[in-house]
Symmetry: C2
Subunit: 340 residues, 2 copies
């Protein structure tokens, strides 16, 4: 069987028993985006790795090397943010065709450095090799979190509310604009959505504050799309969920792009991926204070978009007209085709 | 300028100022194979990343996925070994064409798991993505070392002896056999040299013991070839070196391959790369006890192959006939062509 026939998550499930371990210092291992490791003392060590491959995650004609550098770091920062962690050290592994311009590599590193500086991260090493074909930028990122502030995917409880930071669908709309640059949209909206796709903002500060509040119960970052990523919380927490499409925060410009492309805004917002917003759960009583404090400290709005159900109740998306759809994995599966 | 015109190490030098940092917790950062990080307590955190790219580092028709998995981990284990560290946790980043067989990926992971188990390493996570062309296996490896047992490239002193573990040139001879499978060599030698190339043995135990002896002054692993790698010790320690070709431990089978291929054994042993033996320096008075104890504890022989000189004396290779050659970088530069 080929991996394209199996899909990413079933493949990971088949590999888990091969590498499964009950090492006492591994609090979270394979199957999550971030490993949580007990090293010594009260701080936990977080470790994640994520790659950007030319032709799959980026097209050189659409992204500058500086933007690619920012992006390669940002997608890893987002994984650490989703644990409530403080990112610390990065290692960079580059595979480059021999005809790559030196200036291109320097710009890539400038972008990574700028992004690293913004979040208190130090690039401590890495590796470069030549590649017969596509450029790939692989970043391994370490972080730390106090044991009592670690927030995982596994604590959601029936009755909890489901919240997201920022707005969803911006990146998917930006991708549409990259692929269809002549869509009639204002230059400002065009530029803003494209940037949200090319250089997403990892919600590091928001993630730490949400985790430190100790009132949130589970968290994940939205890399593949809400409809897929919320499934990880449901699986790890053994719960169901009901998402209200009408409550999903979607920018007017994203709605415009959806109309122009003949899709619904929810397709972009729920299955588009690449937003790198945080999605988390918290008991209803804690929500008002969380919304106030995160907005006050970071300027980022939180929005309640649904609620956690018992596992047996399933996973549902309620459309604005009241129709309920089974919430299927419609996210970005690396070995299948993009849904949008 | 293209990176092929510049070469790997000059490119790294140009990138260093872009990412340079004086973070107090970064004892060793960019420019080394391993980052040395102070996290908390007396243990230092080691972090390294190294990739295997199809067509550059391996050919699928010459290596089984299980061997590739072992190798991908081994080259990183070797980097941790060269610091005297204990490897701990690995993250794996795979880029795979869509038509990759699931069984191939499982075998790859089985190989990594077997290698990990052998050295007390736990695979704690990673990432998979599809790739338009070559397979790449990127492994980020963490390790730890007590502060007083850390051994770096920078402590060699004039008068120190230069030693290596095991034998050099095996892997380069194995590569020759992979490329010229009909060389008339005994089947046993053929198989053994090929294995040394495909699945090198990281000298983790040897590295720890050498470092814990606290009598060695600098260490590196031989990935690119002695003639290149010893240069890193010379640069970081600000010393010169004289290597005696006649003292370099070379197996009879390697000498045979060299003859059959019309090269000298020293070309294979000094510039071939991929041996992943350790090269280290130590004062002469400490050498006999080191040789005895490493041999006793691990079975691995140590051989004195030269001595450290003052920096101004330069870097020399003394051939068996007494001729002295300037020891140039003849190793495996990733953006240039292989020397052998």
């Amino acid at each position: 069987m080929r991996i394209a026939d199996l899909g990413e998550f079933p493949l990971i499930s088949r590999l888990e028993p091969i590498v499964a371990s009950d090492h006492a210092d591994v609090l979270i291992g394979l199957g999550d985006d971030v490993a949580v490791l007990s090293v010594q003392g009260n701080d936990l060590l977080l470790a994640t790795i994520d790659i950007q491959v030319e032709g799959i995650h980026f097209l050189p004609q659409l992204i500058t090397p500086e933007q690619l550098g920012r992006r390669a770091l940002a997608i890893n920062l987002s994984d650490i943010a989703a644990m409530g962690g403080q990112p610390t050290f990065a290692l960079v592994s580059l595979a480059l065709p021999l005809d790559t311009e030196v200036g291109w590599v320097e710009q890539l590193y400038r972008g990574m450095r700028a992004e690293a500086d913004q979040y208190g991260v130090t690039i401590v090493g890495g590796n470069m090799t030549r590649s017969p074909a596509p450029i790939s930028v692989d970043v391994a990122l370490l972080g730390r979190v106090q044991r009592e502030h670690l927030l995982t995917r596994s604590g959601a409880q029936p009755g909890d509310q489901v919240l997201v930071t920022g707005q969803l669908g911006d990146a998917a709309a930006g991708l549409q604009l990259a692929q269809h640059p002549h869509l009639p949209l204002s230059a400002a909206d065009h530029g803003a959505l494209l940037m949200r796709y090319l250089t997403p903002t990892p919600r590091v500060r928001e993630g730490r504050l949400i985790a430190q509040s100790q009132s949130a119960t589970a968290m994940i970052d939205l890399s593949d799309g809400l409809s897929s990523d919320i499934g990880h919380i449901c699986e790890r927490s053994r719960v169901g969920v009901r998402i209200q499409a009408a409550q999903v925060p979607i920018a007017p410009a994203v709605q415009q792009v959806a109309t122009l492309r003949g899709v619904t805004p929810w397709q972009l917002a729920l299955s588009g991926g690449d937003d790198y917003e945080l999605c988390f759960t918290a008991p209803a009583r804690a929500v008002p204070e969380l919304m106030r404090s995160i907005k006050r400290e970071t300027g980022t709005p939180l929005t309640v978009i649904g609620e956690i159900l018992p596992s047996a109740a399933g996973r549902w998306l309620v459309l604005p007209d009241g129709q309920e759809l089974a919430l299927e994995e419609g996210g970005w599966e690396h070995f299948r085709h993009r849904q949008v």
